[in-house]
């Protein structure tokens, strides 16, 4: 589980975390290409929404793959073995960085 190791670093190593997000180039998920693997940098939206996304497996640090781009329509992403459809609106609020 490589992705978890990465999260662990992010989490436990505070110095890294402070510089991390600023340095990594990030973009909205909506701009990722089909087939691209990306890591979630931040989730916008209310607290309830963020928790909900978390419980569905979309967390800061999770690695996901864009299976199909939306525009128009929802994006299809793979998070582990789960396939999620994410509305275009939401895809603009999830910031990711390419892996």
């Amino acid at each position: 589980m490589k992705q978890m190791a990465v999260v662990h670093e992010l989490y436990s190593d505070k110095e890294d975390q402070q510089t991390g997000p600023a340095v990594t180039p990030c973009m909205p998920l909506a701009m990722a290409c089909a087939g691209e693997r990306v890591r979630i940098v931040s989730l916008a939206g209310g607290r309830g929404m963020r928790q909900h996304l978390s419980s569905m497996g979309l967390n800061v640090g999770s690695e996901i793959e864009v299976i199909r781009r939306g525009h128009p329509g929802p994006f299809l992403v793979a998070s582990g073995d789960t396939r999620l459809a994410i509305g275009a609106g939401m895809a603009h609020k999830i910031m990711v960085s390419p892996v």
Binding site: M1, Q3, M4, V7, H8, Y11, S12, K14, Q17, Q18, P28, A30, A44, G45, R47, G48, M49, R50, Q51, H52, L53, S54, S55, M56, G57, N59, V60, G61, S62, I67, R68, G70, P72, G73, P74, L76, S79, G80, D81, T82, R83, L84, A85, I86, G87, A88, G89, M90, H92, K93
Partner: protein
């Protein structure tokens, strides 16, 4: 919930798509009960089984991704675990998706209830090349882990054994899984837990570590629990607020973020140690199917095919073959019930015409619903329904709707022939409140099955050559209007409702099992029948009162009675005094004979083949040989002719016609002077604008109870009596020949299409929205909208001197132009919203 002390209560929890329902069915078999949690629309399923002579009561909690207070389902599950304190919680986990599922396992275990893991869908996991070390997993999570395959019944016995074991060791230390939240959070939790433990009530009621965690997560329900039960709530809550603030400044992330990340970290660790991936299969079969089914071009085409197949199976096969076949039995049942009711008077009229006929009108659709629900269950269980939402979201979103609005709209009757009641009920699955409300408001605009008979009736009279075109026009124009209405509503009155981004799990495809599909379809049909019957009974009484009272004035009633008496006298005179049957047919004898006559005629019509007819004759002759001679035109069973009986037959035949005519006239008059009739005439000056006369107004008013009444009431008003013969279409065609044009018919059809939902649907709207205000809104706006369109069609057509077909063409152009404009505007506003986010 009442349960005796010797029952063991087990709760079944799990994330959506983990196969929880299948496992629940496998555990409990047929002994199930479905209800709603009090006051809300979340379903509560309970069932039971016996193990070792011990009765085990199982509650199937709603599927949730976690136990926050985000959705109603989550709150329900959490409250149940907190307050009902089940002896065991079984978490159903998707073995092929362990990491995410562990998230819920952790949250459940923190509630301190003894747990077991049902590691479900082992077959899917194996197919994907996952090898799970059960022993290691059980050790890591500190609870028994039972591998199961719910739809094949594998592992059920083991699971029951594990539940039994845990419930017996109730006194043993509860689950030994204790997540270590790391050096940042643990000290805070410790401090909070300590301060909470000083509160006696809280300490007795709730697991404190759980409460401390929830408070740190800023969970609204946890706040509520503290402020309701704690003695020094201000201290605790301000303490929590301080700790949260401190944490955030110190760690540059909120406590709930840190907690969630930590949970995934631990879950990831466990999966890494317990699961081995044997083959690295990046593209599963599901992915390959999705490649086609979710494709931009192929997807909608495939969906169109599926919808057409559904339409074909429900309306063509179900509506034209199964329903008429079933109706034979329904009408037999109806006759049996009619026979049990009191013979005459108001009570009979209420029970039979009001309640029984109302219920049976719906029962007629039951086979169609069963087929529809079966097909939908197949779509759901196979996983395709999520793809439907995915494909449709793109289009529907532009109109303020949601991908998940598709199912309610299909149920409501997009392709002619649905019912708004299950449609409105199906919106329950939608999380997006704004889209859900919009969907509820437009589902009744779809073409429900009860509207179709009127279309068919009018089309067969006025548009004989263009039947199919008109029906397609009706379904397309209503869909277009519904979409426009949806976008107007979501931009105006529903603007403030909470909206939510679209996020939906796409479960892997499964082959649905026969029992699973059947069970779900029957369950839904039954739920629907129960709802409809209770509502119809209430509504039928009200409507019956409106079209029956105040009844005829004394003079008119006396006049009608007099007419009947005169007819009877003529009859007696005709058969003559010296007819030996005269005495038999005098006074109450005549009524009895009337029943015998009707009964015989009916049976005779139904009897097919010579043998059946002979048997019938014998039976009736045995019942009453004298009466039989009369109804058999003077011939006895032995073939002997009786002149007197023959004369009585001829005379009674006339009398029967006369009486039926009088009865129809009387009923017509009752409707005319009834409250509904006065109402219809009162509205005539206004409704004339759209071409509706008072008769149509009455029919429309009565259809408010149930749309089936529309054609039935028109039937009562337009039927000119038996001797005219022929169907309603014929009599109406004759009756309306001079006054009605196809334009009248078109205006009426469009009005009916948009007309307010029936009362049963409105009550469902009330239940689902929880608001009387919205129910009234759903009742009133369609009247205004429908009336405006009807006037446009009728007046426009008359003034410009267009034919109905030309008006239809112009209306279509007009409506679809607006639709296109709405779609483009919706798209653009969505794009704009995205851009502002990016900046």
């Amino acid at each position: 919930m009442s349960r005796s002390s010797d029952e063991i209560l087990v709760a079944l929890a799990g994330q959506p798509n983990a196969g929880k329902s299948t496992l629940f069915n496998a555990l409990t078999g047929a002994r199930q009960h479905v209800a709603n949690y009090p006051g809300i629309t979340v379903e509560k399923k309970t069932g039971n089984y016996r193990f070792d002579g011990q009765k085990i009561e199982v509650v199937d909690l709603p599927g949730t991704y976690s136990l926050t207070s985000y959705t109603q389902e989550e709150r329900v599950s959490r409250d149940f675990l907190l307050h009902e304190k089940p002896a065991v919680v079984v978490d159903v986990v998707d073995a092929s998706n362990l990491e995410r599922n562990l998230y819920l396992v952790f949250q459940l275990s923190e509630m301190g209830i003894p747990m077991a893991l049902a590691l479900n869908m082992m077959d899917v996991a194996r197919q994907r090349g996952l090898r799970i070390n059960i022993e290691q997993l059980s050790h890591e999570v500190g609870m028994p882990v039972v591998p199961t395959i719910g739809n094949k019944g594998v592992g059920i016995k083991d699971l029951q054994k594990a539940i039994d074991q845990i419930s017996k060791d109730g006194s043993a230390p509860q689950t030994s899984l204790r997540l270590d939240y790391g050096k940042a959070i643990e000290p805070v939790l410790g401090r909070l837990e300590k301060s909470l433990s000083e509160d006696v009530i809280l300490a007795a009621r709730y697991p404190l570590r759980w409460l401390a965690l929830k408070l740190m997560e800023n969970d609204s329900e946890a706040h509520r629990l503290v402020s309701e039960h704690a003695t020094n709530k201000e201290d605790i809550l301000s303490n929590v607020a301080r700790e949260r603030e401190l944490f955030q400044t110190e760690h540059e992330q909120t406590a709930e973020q840190a907690i969630a990340i930590r949970r995934y970290q631990i879950a990831g660790g466990i999966v890494e140690r317990c699961v081995k991936r044997e083959k690295k299969e990046r593209r599963t079969l599901t992915d390959r199917i999705d490649q086609v089914v979710c494709d931009r071009v192929a997807g909608p085409i495939f969906l169109g095919g599926v919808l057409f197949l559904m339409y074909y199976l429900t309306m063509k096969i179900g509506g034209e073959h199964v329903a008429p076949w079933a109706w034979k039995y329904w009408s037999m049942l109806r006759d049996v019930i009619a026979g049990l009711l009191p013979a005459e008077g108001l009570i009979r009229s209420l029970l039979l015409n009001g309640i029984v006929d109302g219920v049976f009108a719906i029962m007629n659709y039951l086979p169609i619903f069963l087929i529809l629900f079966l097909l939908i269950a197949i779509l759901e269980d196979s996983g395709y329904m999520a793809r439907v939402a995915f494909i449709m979201d793109r289009v529907l979103r532009a109109f303020g709707l949601h991908g998940q609005s598709t199912l309610p709209m299909i149920l409501g009757g997009v392709v002619v022939g649905g019912c708004a009641i299950p449609g409105v009920m199906a919106t329950r699955a939608m999380k997006d409140q704004k889209a859900r409300m919009t969907t509820i408001m437009i589902v009744p605009l779809m073409n429900c099955m009860a509207k179709v008979p009127l279309y068919v009736l009018l089309v067969s009279i006025f548009f004989k050559e263009h039947q199919a075109v008109i029906l397609w026009f009706m379904s397309l124009i209503t869909l277009a209007v519904a979409l426009i209405v949806a976008s107007v509503l979501s931009l105006t009155v529903l603007k403030r409702e909470e909206s939510e981004p679209f996020i939906l799990e796409m479960p892997p495809y499964h082959l649905p099992t026969i029992t699973g599909v059947l069970r779900r379809a029957i369950e839904r049909t039954w739920l629907f029948v129960k709802k409809v019957i209770t509502i119809i009974v209430a509504v039928a009484i009200v409507v019956w009162v409106f079209i029956t009272f105040p009844g005829l004035s004394k003079d008119r009633a006396a006049y009608c009675d007099d007419q009947v008496n005169k007819a009877t006298e003529t009859f007696m005179k005709k058969i003559g005094e010296n007819n030996p049957y005269a005495e038999l047919l005098a006074g109450p004898g005549l009524k009895e004979f009337g029943r015998y006559w009707d009964h015989y005629k009916k049976k005779k019509m139904g009897a097919k083949g010579k043998e059946a007819k002979e048997a019938l004759k014998e039976k009736f002759s045995r019942e009453n040989p004298e009466f039989f001679k009369i109804v058999n035109k003077g011939k006895g069973l032995d073939g002997e002719k009786d002149q007197y009986a023959k004369a009585a037959y001829a005379a009674y035949k006339k009398l029967d016609k006369k009486l039926k005519r009088l009865d129809t006239a009387r009923r017509k008059e009752v409707v005319h002077v009834s409250f509904a009739g006065s109402f219809g005439r009162f509205l005539e000056p206004v409704s004339k604008l759209a071409g509706f006369d008072w008769k149509v107004n009455i029919a429309l008013a009565s259809s408010f109870a149930a749309k089936e009444n529309l054609v039935a009431t028109l039937g009562t008003i337009y039927s000119i009596g038996e001797e005219a013969g022929g169907t309603l279409a014929d009599t109406m065609a004759r009756d309306t020949a001079e006054t009605w044009t196809p334009l009248h018919a078109l205006a009426l059809m469009l009005f009916v299409a948009l007309f307010p939902p029936c009362i049963a649907t409105l009550i469902m709207v009330r239940v689902e929205t929880g608001s009387t205000k919205w129910m009234l809104f759903a009742a009133i706006y369609p009247i205004i909208l429908g009336f405006i369109i009807a006037i446009m069609v009728f007046q426009g057509g008359q003034i410009l001197g267009l034919t109905a077909l030309q008006v239809m063409g112009f209306l279509s152009l007009f409506v679809f132009a607006i639709l296109a404009a709405t779609y483009l505007a919706g798209e653009r506003s969505a794009m704009k919203k995205h851009r502002t986010v990016e900046i």
